[in-house]
């Protein structure tokens, strides 16, 4: 198994290189350059030219790519032109917000999906099962931005249960208990939205798994030994079905990343997704390239994680 993991990690290197080359070429095609924004009626065009020379703007592309890559490997993605700070520092703060959002979302996702999936499987073809299947179907079909807006409208504005933007109330001091609570409270609504959208896979998987397990020998054996039905479910079926759904973690991460652009924009949540949209509007190229690289890396990591968990949990999938 270690062989598979190492091979997968090694495979990530060419993929990341190809991605970086694609991003670099795209960045070269972006209209204007960082210095266009500095042109005001009273700047000297010669001064701008000089700056461009210094920044290596006229070097051949492979030289520029090499320099960019070398710096990127060391975590230096240049400076944000909008915020005038190092890109790594800028993304650091936002990434932390996105990470918290992702953690709470994944937690809520499993809290919602696991009982629903097990119950639907256990009471197959009952009203409960049909309701759960319908729910998981709707959550699969509804686009992330539509559900986010409807939730923001109902729970944020109409019922006013949740704050509608930001990460924290300004009245609290950093680090105080109120501050932490406020931060959690702010990310709760976006996290619930995420969780509801992501439940489909886990529910469907658990449901089929439980239905399958019902007719398995080990369940029949347990029943014939006189173990109560509830215990068979909690001890035997549940435990057998639970491990594989850990593998969904990887896919969930990938899905969360794609959705973060929408969710963070709609809930005005200052994470990486919102930063990406802002950088696109502000033509902040160094931030854009760094973010696409980071998302690409995280996507690869997510699918790697899924494969690793799968191969640990399900020996049938273990190849080497």
């Amino acid at each position: 198994m270690w062989k598979t993991i190492i091979r997968r990690i090694l495979l990530m290197i060419p993929q990341l290189l190809a991605l970086s080359l694609l991003i670099f070429i795209m960045a070269k095609f972006m209209p204007g350059d960082p210095f266009t924004g500095m042109v005001t009626p009273d700047t000297d065009p010669a001064r701008i030219e000089e700056l461009r020379q210094q920044a290596g703007f006229y070097d051949p592309w492979y030289k520029q790519y090499g320099i960019w890559m070398m710096n990127a490997v060391q975590g230096d993605f240049g400076k944000s032109y909008t915020y005038k700070v190092a890109v790594a520092d800028l993304i650091g703060d936002r990434a932390l917000n996105t990470l918290w959002l992702a953690l709470v979302s994944v937690f809520l996702l499993y809290v919602i999906a696991i009982p629903l999936g097990v119950l639907a499987g256990r009471y197959q073809n009952t009203f409960l099962d049909k309701t759960v299947v319908l729910y998981s179907f709707i959550s699969y079909a509804i686009p992330v931005f539509v559900l986010s807006l409807i939730f923001l409208y109902i729970f944020g504005y109409k019922l006013q249960w949740f704050p509608t933007s930001g990460t924290v109330d300004i009245k609290y001091d950093n680090g105080s208990l109120g501050y932490i609570w406020s931060k959690f409270y702010h990310l709760l609504l976006p996290a619930i939205t995420y969780a509801i959208l992501g439940t489909t896979g886990v529910i469907q998987y658990l449901r089929t798994e439980v239905i399958d397990a019902k007719s398995q020998d080990y369940v029949r054996t347990a029943r014939s030994k006189g173990i109560p039905l509830n215990k068979v479910y909690s001890r035997h079926i549940f435990r057998n079905s639970l491990l594989p759904i850990a593998a969904f973690l990887g896919f969930t991460i990938t899905g969360l990343l794609g959705g973060s652009i929408f969710i963070e924009t709609i809930f005005s949540y200052p994470g990486m997704g919102q930063l990406f949209i802002q950088s696109i509007s502000g033509r902040d190229y160094s931030v854009i390239t760094a973010l696409v690289m980071l998302y690409g890396f995280l996507t690869l990591l997510g699918s790697l994680l899924s494969d690793i968990i799968m191969s640990i949990v399900d020996p049938r999938i273990r190849i080497d």
């Binding site: 795209m26 179907f137 931005f145």
Partner: protein, 303 residues
Amino acid sequence: MKEQTENVVIQSEHPESSPPTGFQVIMREFKKDKLAMFSLIALVVVIVGIFIWSLLIDQQEMMRVSLRDKFAEPGDKFLLGADQGGRDILGQLIIGARNSIAIAMAVTLLTGVVGIMIGLTTGYFGGWIDNIFMRIIDFFITIPSLMIIIVFVTIVPKYNIPIFILIVSVFLWPGTARLIRSKALSESRRDYINASKTMGTSDAAIIFKKMMPNLSSILIVELTLNFAGNVGIETGLSFLGFGLPPSTPSLGTLVSYAVNPLVLKEMWWVWLPASLLILFLMLGINYVGQAIRRSADAKQRLG
């Protein structure tokens, strides 16, 4: 040709034992599933209605800004009210829906054709062709495509609907190709394929005349579900402002007005109808897709 006539003879000799055709199976599935049947009929009615209605709308007249009607409430003048430019929401809803559906169809067809061709070829031949394409597909599947599409949309100088369709399609064919490849891979090991090979049938004929019809039910399912996904992608990108060019009505653009809290809170008529229409389209197409999927898989059939 000779084989086909033989087939016909065999079938006419045993008419009672001939298996139901794919179409009959699908029809039976729809008859069993009332919700899918309802979705199918409602979808056809709504889509045809939207296309006909959109012909009756003068788009330029409709998109003219009239500030006096800014955020006009639903009433006699505007059945569904007006947006911040005083433009009729209902008209934008119809034209926008037509645009979204047409674009999603175009993307589905384009990615479908490319994905099916590549998937069938790589799955059939295997070997180094398969290896090269699989590396390419792997690469496409692991990149953050939504972000890259957005970057592309902002750097393309001449930006219009066909270009948009092209950009999106470039990033969406690999999913279909991978699915079709895996099916073609197992199909190409079957005896009837080997038999055709020994009979000297050309590779192209085997791929398109023998393998493709046998995979057709999977193809239809894949295309239907892709269609739903593509409606979501187009409206999503338009929602973010990177979909259809500005001034072209789109469902996503109508929904995006709701990013303004004032519109979200007070002017439901701007964003709610478009949101509900997107929701209806997504649910409907997915329901139809699920019913077809069940008919493609004998184990799941209801009928």
